[in-house]
């Protein structure tokens, strides 16, 4: 039999005015297992806590029930109290007789009755409380950042600045990501490359950052503080040690390929760096197009290379590294427009996407920064911009708002007006959304000063008329039909999650929403964390956002990483799930409902009759489990239990309540 002590707190008059303390104490003394009951004006005071400590020693109490305020208030306080008296902190249970009794009831008799019932319930639970212990797990003090766009760059730099080692992983031959493709940035119109490239160089030169380009995540194992990641380093066919980045090979390579970086508006070679300011500025051979790899002839680059850096025999290599934390910053894809035939994209060269427009504006882009129509190389006078292409479209696109299009279209309108004097833009919109510092003003500038006309109406058809394009819509505000003849049409293409986001999510044991954006742990309060402890999110991979937000989130993720890595070890929450090996059938229903991927299969050996056999059971990873208990209900035989809220405890509470 347990030796339970009950301590009823007056909380001044907060409890004592409504609950008859003496009666409660007298009732508590009759409860099974209770050997001692007393009261105190303020149990949370030093005096009150001393009383509890002394009583524990004097009466050899092994469980403690405190009738006081909400456990959300003082659970930790009293856990420390009983711990100081030599008991396991989890031997203490609180009966909430203030917030859930004296403060909400007025009649003293019924309130006292309820208080007694609450104390009895806590006593019943406490009698089944078991000693729980946190475990200490050492932390690998090194972080991995997946994705070398602005989010990954910022996160890596910030983590490195706190003194921890960081590996920055990029699947392309160069870091830079989407931001490198942009011309100017809203709302200040500073040059994207001018603010990005210094950061790229910082990354390359930072002693704490290891840059791993042309590589992808192959496998992730382990848990917070102790991830083991296998990275596939794709064969670059260029020896990074020997290559000086002179670029001769790229000039001489006879195989021209459409450039991904230039959105197909220009060509690159089969041996290439994505763009001139690439970091590292060393090329890779695109084996899918290289003549040697496709036709087994050529080898021009090998002949030309002054340092003999070309190596056709390179193979994919695998790097296995341990990390304490991971930041996912994999960015986004632009929406495919194959379902939007009405916009004539791909049918008429003057219908382009917004990202292509960026390249047409850009000084290092295919037109050298002159805005020219792809069809005839002449500057356009009237340009239509179509918003929400693939966004806010439940039927055939994304139901969500891509968030950045309103602003970059305003930017395009301004840039167009600046680049081509006398030009005019027509912006077809559903709503204009400009929540952000200086954003509304920026938008105002577009139509007040830069000759942009905003037309509320979605475009239903774009078709050629001579060497021009006709855009058909309605102005919903005036009710008038719109039929404009323009020189170019720019489609504000929606933002998609990366097509392979689901695969990565699976590798990382994190979840995605219906649109494959990675899920944050809590939409408001934990926007940077994932449900998997130790894995954080930065940038558009979590949901559409612009550069300032991306950078802010990246820095936030970096702080989360740094605060995790700043510890020598992690103390685990002991109120987590536990598997009873004997009862577990190994059907893994628990695994299906675990939001943290904390449950895995384990093979055990056991005797069956005269033989030793193996079978599968569930195993809880104590570092990943957060103690929600969803698994305990999914488990039909009750083989998985939640420490601190066990089946036995809850059933005892129910029984005690219904007494």
């Amino acid at each position: 039999m347990k030796r339970i002590g009950v301590f009823i707190c007056w909380c001044g008059s907060n409890i004592a005015a409504t609950v008859d303390i003496d009666k409660t104490i007298a009732a508590a003394k009759q409860m099974p297992g209770v050997v001692f009951a007393d009261h105190n004006k303020y149990t949370c005071s030093e005096l009150g806590q001393d009383m509890v400590k002394n009583a524990i020693k004097e009466h050899q109490l092994d469980r403690v029930v405190i009738g006081a305020c909400s456990p959300r208030m003082h659970e930790n306080t009293f856990r420390k109290t009983v711990e100081a008296a030599g008991l396991n902190p989890y031997y203490m249970e609180i009966a909430n007789i203030r917030e859930q009794c004296s403060w909400v009831h007025k009649d003293k008799e019924t309130a006292t009755g309820k208080a007694i019932s609450l104390v009895r319930t806590a006593v019943a639970k406490a009698a089944r409380n078991e000693a729980l212990f946190s475990t200490e797990m050492p932390i690998e003090r090194r972080a991995l950042v997946i994705g070398g766009g602005i989010a990954g760059i910022q996160a890596a730099l910030d983590i490195a600045e706190t003194g921890f080692e960081v590996d920055l992983l990029e699947k392309e031959p160069s870091i830079g990501g989407r931001m490198a493709q942009l011309d100017k940035t809203f709302p200040t119109l500073d040059c994207s490359a001018c603010i990005l490239t210094p950061k790229m160089v910082d990354v390359a030169q930072h002693e704490k950052i290891r840059l791993i380009t042309y590589s992808e995540v192959e496998k992730v194992e382990g848990y917070v503080g102790n991830f083991t990641v296998t990275i596939r380093n794709k064969a670059r066919s260029v020896d990074m040690e020997k290559c000086t980045g002179c670029g001769d090979c790229m000039n001489k390579c006879p195989q021209k390929v459409s450039s991904e970086f230039e959105m197909g508006l220009a060509e690159r070679r089969a041996i290439y760096t994505p763009f001139p300011q690439a970091v590292p500025n060393k090329p890779a051979i695109d084996r899918a197009t290289c003549r040697w790899f496709t036709q087994e002839k050529c080898r021009v680059c090998e002949k030309i290379c002054p340092t003999g850096a070309i190596d056709y025999d390179q193979v994919d290599e695998f790097i296995t590294q341990r990390y304490g934390a991971i930041v996912v910053a994999t960015g986004f894809d632009t929406h495919k427009l194959d379902k939007y035939g009405e916009y004539a994209y791909g049918k008429h060269p003057d219908v382009i996407t917004s990202l292509e427009m960026e390249r047409l504006f850009n000084a290092s882009g295919p037109t050298g920064g002159k805005l020219l129509r792809p069809s005839n190389g002449k500057p356009p006078k009237n340009v239509a911009f179509i918003q929400c292409v693939g966004s806010r479209d439940k039927a055939k696109g994304n139901p969500y708002c891509a968030k950045i299009c309103c602003m970059y279209t305003a930017k395009h309108a301004i840039l167009l007006n600046e680049k081509v004097p006398g030009s005019k833009s027509f912006v077809f919109y559903i709503d204009v959304r400009t929540p952000g510092k200086d954003y509304e003003e920026f938008y105002n500038r577009a139509y007040e000063q830069h000759n942009a006309t905003y037309i509320k109406g979605n475009v239903s058809k774009v078709f050629p008329d001579g060497d021009q394009l006709v855009v058909r819509s309605v102005d919903a505000l005036s009710g008038a039909l719109v039929e404009l003849v323009v020189d170019m049409v720019v489609l504000a293409t929606s933002v998609d999650a990366r097509s392979d986001a689901k695969d990565l999510a699976q590798k990382l044991s994190i979840t995605t929403n219906a649109h494959k954006f990675f899920n944050e742990a809590h939409p408001k309060l934990r926007p940077v964390e994932t449900q998997t402890a130790g894995i954080f999110l930065a940038g558009v991979c979590q949901g559409p956002k612009d550069i300032p937000e991306t950078v802010a989130q990246a820095s936030a993720a970096a702080v989360k990483v740094a605060s995790l890595l700043s510890k020598e070890s992690l103390k685990s929450n002991p109120t987590i799930a536990e598997v009873d090996q004997k009862r577990c059938s190994g059907d893994m229903s628990c695994m299906a409902v675990c939001p943290y991927g904390a449950i895995s299969e384990k093979i055990i050996e056991e005797r069956r009759g005269r033989e030793t056999v193996t079978r599968k059971i569930a195993e809880v990873n104590t570092a990943l489990c957060q103690g929600c208990g969803a698994c305990t209900v999914a488990c039909r035989p009750g083989a998985i239990n939640l420490k601190g809220f066990t089946n036995e405890q809850i059933l005892a509470e129910v029984d005690a309540i219904c007494l």
Binding site: Q30, M31, P32, R120, A124, K582, G609, D655, A656, L659
Partner: protein, 342 residues
């Protein structure tokens, strides 16, 4: 010997029910069980095996044994001495009547189970002789006479239009005395009819087993591989034990609410994994093999060794109800090796 016209039966039952709680076989949703008699129920006189055997009137599936309260001073309420309202069972079949004698050996032997005794003493059993057997009946294999029920207080025999009642104990005589005025004296013709019916009842058995020597053979079979094979089919439900008129194992359960509580006795089944599960987790009968063996050893070896009779009355309920057709007939046949006509 008395008799009553079938048309008058409900009058008789009505009279009996005034004196005691009267239970009769009644079909509900296609399942026949003993149920309290009421004016409007139709007594089922044809079904041989009621679903839950009438042992439940002496040995209920669930009964409170005692209740305690320690919130003030210790108070114990003992239910045993309160057990047993005056009860009459009408229409108990001879096999079930004979099962009472077996239960008596357990519960009236030393130490006497007080609650059981009270119920037994306060209950008057009116047996109903069988006319013809079900295909699963094999009571004759245990030398029971299906038209007779020696252990009953009154034996009722269906002679066609009438039911002949003969008292076999003082309790039975008293009961028939109460019915004076309603029931008539039987004639010698009726007596002959009864004898004929009893002779007739022995006919038509298609199922029988030879139980000779089965107990002795089982003496050396505890470790036999037979059980390894036999148990495989058993899915460990407790149907056989709960429909068996002679199974009498129980479990004690405590419903404690801290300072108050109740102790309950309820049927248990040796087919269940927790039947012999001990507090520290060890189970001396770890697999279904041991459990199946236990059931048949108990019925066909331990019980006869201890009490002289096989703990089976051949009612055939387990044969009919076992979902996997694993029953005592099969075991007796295979152990004894000498099956009767089939």
């Amino acid at each position: 010997m008395k008799k009553i016209a079938k048309s008058q039966l409900s009058k008789m039952l009505s009279m009996l029910s005034a004196e005691a709680k009267l239970y009769v076989p009644v079909a509900s949703d296609g399942v026949v069980n003993f149920a309290p008699w009421q004016e409007d129920v139709e007594v089922d006189l044809t079904t041989i095996n009621v679903f839950v055997p009438p042992k439940k009137f002496f040995f209920p599936q669930t009964e409170a044994v005692l209740r305690y309260d320690i919130s003030d001073e210790l108070e114990i309420e003992d239910f045993a001495c309160k057990a047993g309202d005056k009860t009459i069972l009408f229409g108990v079949r001879p096999c079930d009547v004979s099962s009472f004698a077996m239960m008596d050996k357990v519960y009236l032997g030393d130490p006497v189970d007080i609650a059981y005794r009270q119920r037994r003493e306060n209950t008057t059993v009116i047996a109903m002789g069988c006319k013809s057997p079900d295909e699963t009946c094999f009571c004759t294999s245990f030398d029971l006479e299906p038209g007779k029920a020696p252990g009953a207080d009154v034996l009722a025999t269906d002679t066609g239009e009438e039911i002949v009642l003969s008292a076999q104990t003082t309790k039975g005589e008293e009961l028939l005395t109460q019915l004076n005025g309603l029931i008539q004296e039987a004639t010698s013709g009726d007596e002959n009819k009864v004898k004929d019916a009893q002779e007739q009842a022995k006919e038509g058995y298609t199922t029988s087993v030879n139980v000779q020597g089965v107990m002795e053979k089982l003496d050396g079979m505890f470790e036999d591989f037979y059980w390894d094979r036999l148990h495989k089919r058993c899915i460990a439900c407790g149907t056989c034990t709960f429909v068996c008129p002679t199974c009498h194992c129980f479990d004690m359960q405590e419903y404690s609410t801290g300072s108050r509580g109740e102790r309950i006795r309820c049927w248990d089944s040796c087919m269940y994994s927790d039947f012999t599960l001990m507090g520290h987790g060890h189970n001396p009968r770890p697999t279904q093999k041991e459990r199946v063996r236990q059931r048949f050893m108990h019925k066909l070896n331990y019980f006869p060794h201890q009490h002289g009779d096989y703990a089976c009355v051949g009612c055939g309920r387990c044969v009919r109800k076992c979902p996997v057709n694993l029953d005592i007939l099969e075991v007796i046949q295979e152990i004894g090796g000498a099956a009767g006509g089939m």
